[in-house]
Amino acid sequence: MLVLIPFFVLPILVVLVASVFETDGFGGLIPTFTLANYGTVLTSGLTFNLYFETVKFTILTWFFTLILGFFVAYFLVFHVRNPLLAIGLFLICTVPFWTSNIIRMISWIPLLGKEGLINSALLRLGLIRAPLEFLLYSGFAVVVAYVHQLTIFMIVPIFNSMARIDKRVVEAAIDAGASRFDIMRLIIVPLSKSGIALGSIFVASIVMGDFFVTKVMSGGGSASVVGAFYEDISVLQYPGAAASAIILTVVLLVMVSLILRTVDIRKEITR
């Protein structure tokens, strides 16, 4: 626990202190106490738009990673009979995670581009007349890149909590005449709730805290909260950037605590 002090508490405190300082405009900080930085950030309409955009991407990514991750985990746990094969398939899902996020994001460009594989294949099949413009440098591309990167964060915790479900419960439900949908609704989903919650926390906090994917895959068409204060830092507006960082941290904490309220994680993990 002590390791949290130098690597977590201190940096947060530095940011907190910087957010109430004034700037001299050239990167220097004047040690005073002012809430003007927060005022500037909170009263600007830009902040609202940025949060709207980031939350939009977060919700879309969360939705698709949840659907995909849940059913992939479900397939591996309940449909693959050989446990060794299930673990092998699970490892296949995790191997791409060993390469850089940036390479995996860039690798969508030759596929989605105007002369990319998908467009040329569709053109050759005669399904479209002109190349689809929305594939690359758009919100679509951003969501594709995020889902590609983050589905594994959903699969792992959901797989873990599903693997702990006693198969006999499912068998008993079948014997009692439960339908497939009932089993899903009354057994599988409630018992893998902790995995879903953990995966949601991972995905939501990563997407909210990321700016690079949004910046590259939208071609500069979309901005994000972190991207905005990265710009602030590059023009030496440290207090403003620190204030936005603190606000984002608070928003994320609220989000995570809301997710945690739906499930008692401590109880579920030690189950």
């Binding site: 995909l68 059913f71 992939v72 479900y74 397939f75 591996l76 309940f78 449909h79 009979r81 398939l89 296949i92 899902c93 791409p96 390469t99 390479i103 995996r104 860039i106 690798s107 969508w108 460009i109 030759p110 596929l111 581009g113 002369e115 990319g116 594989l117 040329s120 590609h148 589905t151 499912v170 068998e171 079948i174 005449g177 439960a178 339908s179 497939r180 089993i183 899903m184």
Partner: protein, 105 residues
């Protein structure tokens, strides 16, 4: 239990069960297996594309179709160009290592 009943129960289990431990597989297996296959293809496909495209000739960029095979970009990586100098940075590293005893003494 009469053998007839057992057979019936098994048939029902095959129809209803999400994953019977023996016997035929339910239709959801095939559906989810397809989903899983697509997921794995989407996971590996783009990366494999990048690896193939790295053998692109000098005339082509980061797009298909391939304009001839070459090791141009790998050679480019290890010779000095404006944007990168992989070999040079490794050389500097070794020079720094050779010099470090001199500096410390």
């Amino acid at each position: 239990m009469a053998p007839q009943n057992v057979a019936m129960a098994e048939a029902r289990a095959t129809k209803r069960a999400i994953a019977p431990s023996r016997g035929g597989r339910p239709w959801t297996f095939y559906l989810l297996a397809t989903l899983f296959t697509f997921y794995v293809i989407a996971l590996y496909g783009p990366m494999i594309c990048i690896y193939i495209l790295s053998f692109q000739d000098v005339r082509g960029g980061l797009v298909f179709p391939m304009k001839g095979l070459s090791l141009h970009w790998f050679i480019d990586l290890f010779t000095q160009v404006r944007t990168s100098d992989v070999k040079g940075s490794f050389d500097r590293l070794s020079v720094a290592r050779d010099l470090s005893p001199v500096c410390s003494s």
